[in-house]
Amino acid sequence: MGLRVQPGVIGCAIRPVIAARNRSLEEIIYDTAQLALADAGIGIDDIDGIVVASNDQFDGRSISVMMASGPVGGVDRDIMSTPSASEHAFILGALRVGSGQFRTQLIVSWSPTEVSSMSEAQRLGADPYFHRALPLDELSAHALQASAVENAQPTARAAAEAVAEKNRAHGRMAWPDPPLHPMPGPMRWPITPAMTSAPVTGSVTLVLAAPDFIAERGLRDVAWLRGMGWATEPSFLGDRDLADAPALAAAARQAYAAAGITDPASAFDVAEVTDATPYAELLAYEALSLCPRQDWAARAADGSFSRGGRLPVNVSGGVLTWNPVFCTGLIRIAEIANQVRGGAGPHQVPNARCGLAHAGSGFAMQYQAAVVLAQEARP
């Protein structure tokens, strides 16, 4: 079933790395929200609802929406929070506009690096009943998934190394100061330093609007939501086949059905995939029906998914370039919105009319989402 009202993205602000320490977290959130409103050409008074997303443990605040509500314009406004994933804020915002009860939504997410150990903060996500005593942080979970994928598909390692190199090359072209060195410290086999990047502070904001608002204001650069799907894997890693991504397959089916897409491999001009590791990108290729696993190595080698190729994936450089951990999912959606709106800057793909964003988060991509955005409201 489709949405009653079709939302469009009318503004974005993507700040995948904020190195300076002269602004507090609340000020960073304020800055990002203001940038997105400016990009949309509207003021906070035009916003009739807000959805924010962040992780209380990364933020160091027991209820992160509380202090963040001021900076995003939450005073005397309808505000909700989806701390499960940054992409969930987009989804809830889209449902709210989709219901016809809201004309606009401001979607804001952030990910600071003020916690002394990201790994320790993430380990708190392991249940105390069976798993807390294990060294289970997000990187370990990705490593478990990577080893499962290698076991199921022997050519995966070579393909993963090629994907990592592709995304780093994209990152060098997309950003003036991409990082030269990946995450230091012990790695988790089979994940190598080249396959991850250190957490950075980042923030992202999108503005969604309903067609009548867009028409009233004469807004031109719109990325229309053609379809979205989201789903979750079960709780325990041991209950999952880590070499597979059924939740993403379910999410993709839902998104494609709504968007009327029957041949995903040829339907998109650009895609952004949450490459927490290159193995996650490979699994996403398959679950999104872009490339089955037996073709991973070949496609990685022949440049199909590189800039200039058949379907450029992660021209933004992906998570491998900048890793503002909690925001990475929503940033993929914002990147595609910018591509379709013609505002992606140095990494703009020419004539990007229809794009696919994949957002994954949690232990070994437990949460998965797929979003289709396009210049045309209808196919």
Partner: protein
Amino acid sequence: MSTDRVGIIGIGQSEFRSRRDDASYPELVREGVALAMQDAGLDFDAIEAVVYSLSPDAMVGIGNAERLGVDAVGGRNKPFLRINNGGATGISAVAAAYYHVASSMFDVVLTAGADKIGECGDSQTVLNKIWDPSYERPLPLGTINMLAMSAVRYMQRYGMTEQDMARVTVKNRRQAALNPKAHLRKVVTIDEVMASRTISWPIKLLDCCPQSSGGAAMVLASERFIRDNHLDAVWITGVGHSAETYWMGDRMGNNPTAEHANAYALGRSFEKSYRMAGITDPARQVQVAELYAPFSNTEFHAIDAARLVAQPGESIARLRDGEFELGGRIPVNPSGGTLCTNAIAVTAMARVAEVALQVWGRAGAHQVMGARLGIASGNGGDHQIFGTMVIEA
């Protein structure tokens, strides 16, 4: 008949208690879910999406604990997201589920959660860390003393006394005694409340909510689904959220927009849901109210904000006159309310559940006779984010 409404077709609540050592957190979630699914008469295949209700992770001691609850809600490979609006989470989760259905994308949505406050040895420590580290964290702020300060201002503005506060506890305990799901069900007298030890003046022990453990869940469905399947339902006709400034000091001083004695944003939230439901005279049209009030004094400004009285402060005299008890003009918190049961992640959902049961005629011994229109509210953050709903038969 309109085909646009969103209905409630199933409700489940645990019998809330201090500790549930017999159940892990996911098992507690499952408890509420099983009751709601049974009530709706559906199996899990019928659920198309899930909204998970969970406020501070620190209370259950598991980061992003909703991930652990995926199986308990039958969420595998299904659309799933979690809401956290502090204490308002439960009503915000129902609202999020409402938007899932109202968007036309889904016909049947489950919302569920649980809390185990009793397992967290330091709930006020956790609740101290909701304040910002830049300024207010070093102060011994917690939810109790924050609302004690609201009481102090309400006393000064409207003449509320400690006896008036005690009356709220007495009323709610008497009502909780009739509700098998409530946590604190022992009837108390005004003298007993007044004699209980002071926690943060003027709030005494018996003016405070308990720390409860338990789960709750609700199943929402589209009117089309309800009609096609010949189901019984009650209807969510109004939904709204609003927030006020996070800064408590800005709710005092010179001409604050939101006054800390009152519940400004709760009033603004009710304006939205009343407008949506077409309610123009709440004091006449509302027949039952479940208003989130974890401390006795806060029930007064909630009643004021819901405009069940003509002027702020009038709630004090009207409560003394018996208007807000079972048998009175507009029973408030006939379930015993948050004052008698507070499993934070789902407390505000229980408010919606209780109003739904009331207008459905299924509230048992604490039924408000003939109630067909009711309101529910939830408060989150430092008395900052408020969700409200109107539910009708």
